[in-house]
Assembly symmetry: C2
DNA sequence: ACCTGAACACCGTTCAAGT
DNA sequence: ACCTGAACACCGTTCAAGT
């Protein structure tokens, strides 16, 4: 009788719980269904309580993107071309798991794509690619990557056939891009630069 | 004394005038500065008057994109590769003139990029490229195009040097993409398909 | 110190009343 | 018929009052 257990707000609020709930709403109802008030009510509090953990809605959205993207880790000891391919595919797969956050990533939090690109850049440098070439590959590939997740965003689940064609187009684009870049970059100076595959 | 000329609402409202004013606001204050109420007050009316010409805010935004993109016309009688290059550059130049609408184009009105792609597809077919190849080129190039305008959206005017590097990256990407696609598509079947340039 | 309701300054849009 | 103000159902966030 002394300590009355409240019925709903089971756990204490925390930044993690807030981001989790926000992602759940975004996945379920899309980005336009995610408001501070709705998020709060789903957590059993008033809207203003959120501001003890998040300075801003913009900051919340950025945290959402960071949660989704997390870390994309790349294998070591493989050829530069494989690194690029794996990066391209894993970034796409990761992002498409939570399609709702794509517009956020593209508009308010462009930095995250930068930081993903930095990961690729580091891996390429470690694999022996020259700084200039690595930079160029990363910049170009990031553009194709961004456009692909953007344009493939809607029909990801519905229409298996459509999704398959998008995957094929993506593969073709990555291959073509890497082939074409191999022709352009340091044509014969760098011995272990990014070359054709076979 | 009979007909008193109102001071502000000089011209009658029209869909064109509304879209013009909306674009002006978007260019000046960005997309978040564009609200139906503000747009209306800038035109000297109440918000609800706009709904006689536009069913929706979404429809207004779509009209905005259409106004910006307008028609991208392509030259006839040039090689497929040149058609692609000209398309890529003119679309980018056109879109970057009104950067505020890029998010709209990418999210609410993805159809417009489709219709731009259709223009390219038609031009390629007319130049003798096979349907499959033309389709593949268009799909891949559209993805690179979308990602490029997205990622280059912010620093377009400020920092001449940054803009120049973005232009160079874009050129490199287009060249690499077309080179790489030439290697992939109909390697030796189609006599006048998309081949290497020189 | 931490928390949070009421209040403020906005939204897009419906709806009914004006001409 | 065309137009449009008031009103509704929302926003994100400030601010002052609560513990």
């Amino acid at each position: 009788m002394l300590s009355v257990p409240e019925p709903r707000p089971v756990e204490r609020l925390s930044r993690d719980r807030i981001v989790d709930a926000a992602l759940a709403i975004a996945d379920r109802d899309g980005l336009e269904g995610l408001s501070m008030r709705r998020l709060a009510s789903e957590l059993g509090t008033g809207a203003m309580s959120l501001y003890n953990y998040v300075p801003d809605k913009k900051a919340l959205l950025d945290a959402l993107v960071e949660r989704v993207v997390g870390t994309v880790d790349l294998p070591v000891g493989v050829a530069p071309r494989q690194i690029c391919q794996i990066w391209a595919h894993s970034v796409r797969t990761t992002i498409c798991r939570h399609r709702a956050v794509i517009p956020v990533m593209m508009t308010t939090d462009r930095s995250i794509l930068r930081s993903l690109a930095v990961v690729l850049f580091g891996a390429l440098r470690d694999a022996g690619v020259g700084a200039g070439d690595a930079q160029a590959v990363v910049e170009v590939l990031a553009r194709f990557e961004a456009g692909s997740v953007m344009l493939d965003a809607d029909a990801a689940q519905r229409h298996e056939s459509r999704r398959r064609r998008q995957d094929a187009t993506f593969d073709l684009g990555v291959t073509a891009l890497l082939d074409g870049l191999a022709l352009q970059l340091t044509p014969d100076r760098n011995p272990n630069g990014s070359r054709q595959p076979e």
